[in-house]
Structures are given as C-alpha cells and as structure tokens.
C-alpha cells in the first residue's frame, strides 16, 4: 500500500534527520516535523504518516541530547521530498510493487541521509520491521506492532520440561532394551 510505503520512507527519514539542543522543538526540528506531517495526494487519495509514527519522530526530536542544524534539516527535508516523489511517480500500490530501480533510489536517499548523522537503520526482513537506533544502540523508532506481548513467557520452561520428558522416555526405553528392569 502506498500509505505503507510512505510510512516507511518518512519514518526512516524522520529518524535520520536528527542528531543531538534543548527540549522542545526549535526551528530546524520543526521544519523536519512539518515535512513529515504534511499530507499529499496519490491517485486522489490523501496520504499522511500514521500518528504514532509522527509521535515517535516528535518524541525523539524533543530529546535534550538531539540537535539538528539548518543544513541537516534541509538535507532531510530534501530526502523526504525525493523519496515521496519516487513513490508518487511510480504509482505503486505497495513496496513489493516498486521496481528495483525505485527501491534502489529510495535506499540511496536513506543512505545519503544516514551518512550525515550517526543513526543506524536496522531492517528485519523476516518480520518486515524497520528499527532506527541511535548512536548508543537505543531504539528511536520502530514500525513494530503497537501492541506487545504481555503474558508470562513460559516457553523456556516448556522446552526444558519437554527435553526432560524426552530424556526420561529415552532412558526408560534404553533400560528396557538392556533388560535392566528384569530380575
């Protein structure tokens, strides 16, 4: 879906736009946030970033240890606009529908922005999750599911119990074969 594509692009760009000033949003930070907040139309459909993605970007921008210069802000805004243009021009309805050239172009935009700042983009292809990490390895933003696992994870206990059971059965069978139970 286009929304998904744009979410991912803007999401990455949002995180890449930032390096380390004071709490709240200064002009440069606000400029980046405005670029991300803007909506646009693709095939008559208004597309904008999901609110939780914007909030992640906003929360990060509001951090005391995050500053962004005018040049960085300009670069990020340009990259965001470029990436959006690529998606618009492609007319693709999903990331999978983008051709290899478009995917490479978007990746190049991301890499260009990444070179300017010290953030890392981690892509988990298996789970289709993108996570942005700061220079200390702290997640800055992620498109992982909103609702998390909050039950007791007893899988480790189950594995141990299963292994124990298998061992017991194995020992029993071995003992029977060796006639250890016979008098």
């Amino acid at each position: 879906m286009k929304k998904t594509i744009l979410t991912v692009i803007c999401f990455v760009m949002a995180a890449l736009s930032i390096t380390a000033s004071a709490a709240g949003l200064d002009t440069n930070k606000q400029k980046v946030l405005d670029a991300l907040t803007s909506s646009f139309t693709v095939d008559g459909k208004v597309v904008s970033l999901p609110s939780d993605v914007l909030t992640q970007a906003e929360n990060y921008l509001k951090r005391d240890d995050v500053t962004i210069t005018k040049n960085q802000a300009d670069l990020i805004v340009t990259e965001v606009e470029d990436a959006i243009s690529i998606v618009k021009d492609s007319g693709a309805a999903s990331i999978a529908a983008l051709d290899a050239r478009d995917k490479s172009a978007i990746l190049e935009n991301i890499q260009n922005a990444a070179e300017v700042i010290d953030l890392t983009v981690s892509v988990d292809s298996a789970k289709s999750v993108i996570t942005i990490l700061d220079d200390k390895g702290n997640p800055v933003a992620s498109d992982e599911g909103v609702i998390k696992v909050t039950g007791p994870d007893s899988s480790a206990l189950a594995v141990i119990a299963g292994a124990g059971l298998a061992l017991i059965v194995g020992c029993f069978v071995a003992a029977r074969k060796m006639r250890l139970f016979s008098k």
Partner: protein, 227 residues
C-alpha cells in the same frame, strides 16, 4: 569382585538413571523457582557484600530528578521537561485502590517489561494532551488490572508533575484490533493493557485494556505566557 560386577551390571539402575533424574529434577525445580529464589539470593548478597552495589549501568533512570518545584501546577514549561530516552525509568504509576505501584519506562520491549511497565514510543508522555499507551505483564504489576473498575484513579508521577486519570472503562480485544486504541486523538487518554486471560500460562492473542481520562496534572506548554 562380586560387588564390582554387581555395580557394573546395574550401573544404569543404581548410578546413571538416578544421576540423570537428579539433574532433570534440579533443572525443572530451578526453572520453576528461579524467579523466587534469585531475588532472595540477590538480597542476601546485598547484606553480606562488602562493596556498595552499582546498578547505574543496568538501569537508566531520570525519575527523582525534580524538574519543577510545583508538581501540581496548572502548566509546566516544555523546556524544563526532560524527554526520556528509550528504556529509561521516567515515572511511577500507581493505582492506589489496589496497591499497584510500579516503575514506568519509556519504551515497551520485552527487556523493559521485565523491569516494570512500559510506554509505547508512538504515544506521548503525560502533559502533552495526547494518548498514553502503557503495557505491563499480567503476572507482574498489571495483573491487578483485572480488578480495576470505573472511576478508579490511576496516578502517574513524573519529575515535572503528578497526573491523575479516572478509569472510564475496560475492554477485551484481540492484539490486532486497532479499534482498541486511538493514538491520533487530541485527548490525553490513558490506555493500559496486559495479556488476557490473566491466569493463562504462555502467550495469548487477547489483551485486557483499561481506559482513563485525565482529571488533573500540568499541561506542557512551549510558551507559558501564551498559555
């Protein structure tokens, strides 16, 4: 000689199998009681240790570093509010009616949820007038959510203000059900959730949601004069 022959012949019965069962039994008991025993061992170590423990490298916390003198003011200036980094303990969450008290962290990874309750990165911290989405384990502090009822008060204490939310309802929903939360609303709704059913071991697809509306606490403003 005869004894040696006897032991050799019955080694499986009198040596290997008892040893094996002993090991298996120990592993199972350790797994079952590790969560109870380990804190006791840690406490014992604290008592007998000659050195002062240093937890700084394990737990990042900004809670307790007071940002403002009046935690019950009507507004608080944004520049005095410290935005927490992921995994940072930044507040305390309490539901006095049920003696629920727990540390509130920014971020909700499994590592964070082992320490306390965690706030989703895509939701705002208290005071911004936007929703807060907070999760916790049902075998931990949020096990008590099953008893929470309408009009109960949830208190979140931060360095810059004390926020109170009145419970307005509960809901059981699938974890994929996006109608269970609305993070785009311009309202400071508190959304707490945990896995459901409460007494089930293992992972479940259902979640128990508790909703609350803000009743007091300072608004974060970027320009106090304009507020």
């Amino acid at each position: 000689m005869r004894l040696f022959y006897f032991i050799k012949k019955r080694a499986m019965v009198y040596l290997y199998l008892p040893l094996l069962f002993c090991i298996i039994g120990y592993v199972i008991l350790y797994s079952a009681f590790a969560s109870i025993v380990m804190p006791m061992v840690s406490s014992l170590n604290l008592i007998i240790s000659e050195n002062q423990p240093n937890h700084a490298s394990r737990v990042a916390s900004i809670f307790g570093q007071k940002d403002t003198d009046d935690l019950n003011a009507e507004t608080v200036e944004e520049k005095t509010v410290q935005m927490p980094v992921y995994g940072t303990h930044y507040a305390r969450l309490e539901i006095p009616s049920y003696s629920i008290k727990t540390d509130l962290y920014f971020g909700d990874s499994s590592a964070v949820l082992k320490k306390g309750v965690g706030q989703y990165l895509g939701s705002s911290i208290p005071g911004y007038g936007k929703p807060l989405l907070i999760s916790g384990h049902n075998n931990g502090a949020f096990g008590g959510l099953q008893f929470v009822k309408d009009n109960d008060i949830v208190v979140i204490t931060t360095n810059y203000g004390i926020y109170k939310y009145k419970v307005t309802g509960t809901k059981i929903a699938d974890h994929n059900d996006k109608s269970a939360y609305n993070l785009s609303q311009d309202k400071e709704q508190l959304i707490l959730y945990t896995c459901y059913p409460f007494n089930t071991l293992g992972l479940t697809s259902k979640r128990y949601f508790v909703y609350g509306e803000k009743v007091s606490g300072p608004r974060i403003v970027s320009n106090p004069a304009a507020a």
